[in-house]
Subunit: 139 residues, 4 copies
């Protein structure tokens, strides 16, 4: 599977009064990495791929994280993101956040490929285009 | 089990360009509700209960959410939060976010009761005080 | 001028490793209060008032804050929000955040009333409807 | 003056339902750049420089931004950050966010060098060490 890798530094503003990452921020990191994986696969920004593939995004059906090692501001971490299962109109994404090469946080997302307008309550699952499946599947 | 209920309005700033809640925000809502549940149970703010019970917080081991119905800015929602399992030094929390009385988002957290200093990498699980278990268990 | 008042508790997730509010969060509070002021004035949610008045929002031209007294998680604060100057297609908003009746943070926003589609780079200032000006001006 | 430059892509999660950056996020970007400027100047992460210089951070006295050109998700922007005035125990920081070489957002911060413990309400302004002033002043 195509893997997207991001090196990033944990910021002061990502952390809570315990000095470690405020956990919703991990989900924000993972959401950005899923978009970046698709940007990498399709060779265009999310702004453009939403238009090019005439779809409304890839909202979540469920999200899950395991927190193994705390990270704090100033830590340099690596996030590795790849699709793990590509179905007709939904897909799974796996994120591994590493600190000093050790798995610190793991994230799992199930997302749906949708058309329509979320703000009008009219989102509808649509088939993932074949080219998207092919590009995400490449090693 | 003691249940904490919060009525809140989804804000513009909670939403993404699809006009629906940016999903990490749900985890932020749930984190705030877990603290509020403990504040309710112990009759003091989090700032005070951390001191009163000499502990460093209740960081997560894992978090999970299911997204059933999208919510958008202007929606009035209700969040119901309660502990579902209280163990020696860890506990589970269940959150139900309702929109027009329908379950829109469901959250599950497993948290550890810790002592020490997270910023020094010295957090250590500690037994949950009996009074905390008793108060969270009251209906 | 019409004043909108909100009582809120500072959350753990609003705070940084110094234990005080991470300052961008104050701007998020103020943005929510400006929307709430308009919701109060117009008797409908932002979702509805954007449609009813056929406009694209009230983006900022500039924002400014003064930080006088730190606030920390568990603090109960009051935010008072009102328009201070209403011009043809722009307006100023003043926010006062009080802690124990003392002014802790003060915010100033200048906003434009726009039509069009921000995502297409086609936002255009439009006259603020007279009814909006009248309602915001009422004491 | 020493200038820190960051190239970054605006993320989906930074944007609001108008598809443009939710303005408190600009202040989060600027806060991170101020820390990065000090990290660059002092050759260590914020986590380490707080300890090395025995201080409690550089909270804000005031912050201001001008919003000239909207930015949206997928935009690649550059942020240039430098100190503009270094006084005994406070300093000013100027941020310029550029999109396609045009000034899109400008930020101004006044910060205080403090000692003590913010959570105990005991922060106190302290003189900025001479080495910090020298390093921030280097071109």
């Amino acid at each position: 599977m195509l893997t997207y890798t991001r090196n990033t530094r944990i910021e002061w503003g990502d952390c809570d009064p315990a000095g470690i990452v405020y956990y919703p921020r991990y989900f924000a990191f993972f959401d950005a990495c899923t978009s970046a994986l698709l940007e990498r696969a399709l060779g265009m920004t999310k702004h453009h791929y939403l238009k090019a593939y005439d779809f409304a995004g890839h909202p979540l059906v469920n999200a899950r994280s395991r927190f193994l090692i705390p990270t704090r501001f100033g830590d340099d971490v690596t996030i590795e993101t790849r699709a793990t299962d590509l179905r007709r109109s939904s897909f799974d994404v796996h994120h591994r956040l590493l600190k000093n090469d050790a798995l610190a946080v793991e994230g799992f997302e199930t997302r749906v490929w949708v058309r329509g307008d979320a703000t009008k309550g009219k989102m509808k699952a649509a088939p993932i285009p074949q080219v998207v499946i092919e590009r995400l599947s490449q090693g």
